[in-house]
Symmetry: C3
Subunit: 318 residues, 3 copies
């Protein structure tokens, strides 16, 4: 695999695997394309024929109804044929290897794979072994990357803040297990955000993030002070049994976004969350539903970004 496995020799996007290493102009091109799809919901007929006759496969080895649905919506609005494979009951369950499953789908003339996998790197492996006309979009792999979430977060920030070059962005919560945090950090850095802070208890914030130019804050008040953008991460309940996390109520006491804490941030700060939210755990209802929350606009940008990514990669030659 070349240094930029997702780009062709003209620097165009063939696969979307990770935001790490993507040039700024590629990120901007995706956002600009997505912008063109933003008025889409108002149209009488929410369909364009950009992917007509293409076969898109949703391969969710790890379950996520929400993300799978957003890709299904994006693909259908682009007029693609989309197939949701029930991986839990499929040949993979019968002991078939990942690459054999993929080779079989390619023999069925698949054009695009949207892949979620609990193991980091699975979408790379698929891209590496695919013929030139097949395209791969990473819908979340392990703790590694969730590039379309990163991109929709950037769309949201660009929409509300216009300019990245003077922002203070705080990412709060379970950083160490979060592919969203990782994708956001790479995107923010590439787009020129001067100050990215990661905020959380020591057990959940990897110290080596400092190498990426990120400021690590254990104290939430310090992390939020004068921030322009606050990205709250979802507290994964399934993580709490492992002893890495305090209880939900302890977490709320120490890191939950309350109106009082939000008041430390810039008065026009926006509050983001990748969803689904745990009301009263990482975020108070009054904040989630308040005037600074842009959580639902994020969802709307998410459809546009996924339409942009699918249509860009599908039309990029090897």
């Amino acid at each position: 695999m070349s240094k930029h496995p997702q780009l062709n020799r003209h620097g165009e996007l063939r696969h979307l695997l990770t935001i790490e290493g993507l040039p700024r102009d590629v990120l901007q091109h995706i956002m600009d394309t997505a912008q063109g799809f933003m008025s889409f919901g108002d149209r009488e007929v929410k369909k364009v024929p950009l992917l007509r006759g293409k076969s898109v496969f949703n391969l969710f080895f790890e379950n996520s109804t929400r993300t799978r649905t957003t890709f299904e919506i994006a693909a259908k609005r682009l007029s693609a044929d989309i197939f949701n494979l029930d991986i839990q009951r499929s040949s993979t369950a019968k002991g078939e290897t990942l690459l054999d499953t993929i080779a079989n789908l390619e023999a069925m003339d698949a054009d695009l794979f949207v892949v979620r996998h609990s193991e980091s790197g699975a979408p790379f492996l698929i891209a590496q072994h695919s013929p030139d006309h097949v395209h791969v979009v990473n819908a979340g792999d392990g703790r590694h990357a969730h590039p379309t979430q990163g991109l929709l977060d950037m769309m949201t920030i660009r929409h509300y803040k216009r300019d990245f070059s003077a922002l203070r962005v705080a990412i709060v919560g379970d950083i160490v297990h979060s592919r969203v945090a990782r994708s956001d950090i790479h995107a923010l850095t590439t787009l020129g955000v001067p100050e990215v802070r990661v905020v959380g208890p020591k057990t959940l914030v990897p110290g080596d993030l400092r190498a990426l130019g990120v400021r690590v804050c254990e104290d939430i008040d310090e992390g939020l002070r004068d921030a322009d953008v606050v990205i709250m991460l979802r507290l994964q309940n399934e993580r709490m049994s492992g002893g890495l996390l305090p209880s939900a109520s302890e977490f709320h006491m120490m890191y939950g976004l309350t109106p009082e804490r939000l008041a430390l941030a810039s008065p026009d700060a926006i509050v983001m969350h990748p969803g689904p939210i745990n009301r009263g755990v990482e975020i108070d209802s009054s904040v989630a539903d308040g005037p600074q929350s842009v959580i639902l606009p994020q969802v709307r940008f998410g459809i546009a970004v996924r339409m942009a990514v699918l249509s860009i990669v599908a039309n990029t030659a090897a």
Copy 2:
């Protein structure tokens, strides 16, 4: 919520939540529209572009493959994009509230929600919190209402009996748990049926139905005598463990529709059932497959009624 939450100020149908309180002309408009779709199955191409580009979400919080499929068929024949959400594995399962799930789907530019829920009132709650351009169709909520079943039953009766104004209609079985019974009673009353009888053991027939102008019969012979329409309800097996119901064979002995009992009804009486039928429990095979049975025509009317409802509400302004 206004007195008529499903109607706009012109009295047009924006949502279909319950038959209770719907004016007779609205019921007739739905049936007339459905009638136009009845020849649809004979066409070479069974599609019309009435909902092209609309996004319809099947939200079945309570499982029902049959009803979900009928809405999926109706939506696809109207050329909509339809999304079946796997609620059991979705964000709701991760603790997201119903209204947060809905708000997220609305941010994805949903146009129509088809909702089944085990709790009465859930579709109302969704309709109440939806923006003007979103429409809700109740596909069965708790013991409350199943309005499309009620409407398809009325289509069936109108087809075979032409006129509602002189009919005797008997509804037989587990009335107390049946949203079908409730929707049928409201529809029959609104359409002017002079005599509606509910028939079943005391434990399964709520006495307060008399307030709706319904005649309550514990004795099946009395209930069936001279009836023009016999609607048998499905015996829910899962109910029998609760002690409310006798065993299946006891039920059959006391309330099962046998040829002998059917002979008490009017000679041209029709026999209806919402399906799936329990042969030999609430209905004998010779009756279900006999000349008076209109159980399969009900299914056919069901597709037409759902096409009518989806196309009407989707095109009704707030």
Copy 3:
């Protein structure tokens, strides 16, 4: 049911239930039609309107994500509306009979049923009880037949060998439980293959196959010698618990296709497998991925064959 329940009185294919008894010209017509769909994957828009507006139902009473997906792909490329019924959660699970389920779907204006069932004969039963305009395709019933697999195997052999009239074909593995083997044997015999060998341990090869003109070999070397086509069957893991099969490693030692064994066959022999493959059990990776393997081309032919079958039966009058 007539002698040829799948053919109309003009000898045309109304249903595809089994290859047994199908005339050679019908097999050839399906393969010729499929050939026309083989360049399909290279097109910009992989869709033809041959089944536009038709309602195809995937009825998989036995689970098979792979085969279900191939029919879904074939149907969508023919522009049909396809409905995947979740049989495990459906009315069948509520005790409804198979024929009641079918009658209900027919009342919804179903055009085509694609049926997989663990009981041999289920697709026949459905075809027998369906009205004239409904068509049934068997996607595998019990140990009985898997006709589209048989047809795609014939497409593959015809593509690589051109002529059937001088071939030696070896089918290796668990013959007794294999509907694939049975469909292949009928197809090969009908198409004039002079020598069909079935190879496997005595417990897994029914002796009465000799009545079909098939040569039975217990010794794999004898079975492979000078073969032009080697069809390896999948070792069903779930069968091994029954004591009929040796362990996976014993099976590999005695019947696994190694490069050494393949060297006994004709130098230009092709290696086939219905998938999913068990690497290192019935077939070595070096053979499965080697130059003589046509396992992935089989998958490609499978889509074309299913498009051909669906489009032929859907357009054949009773």
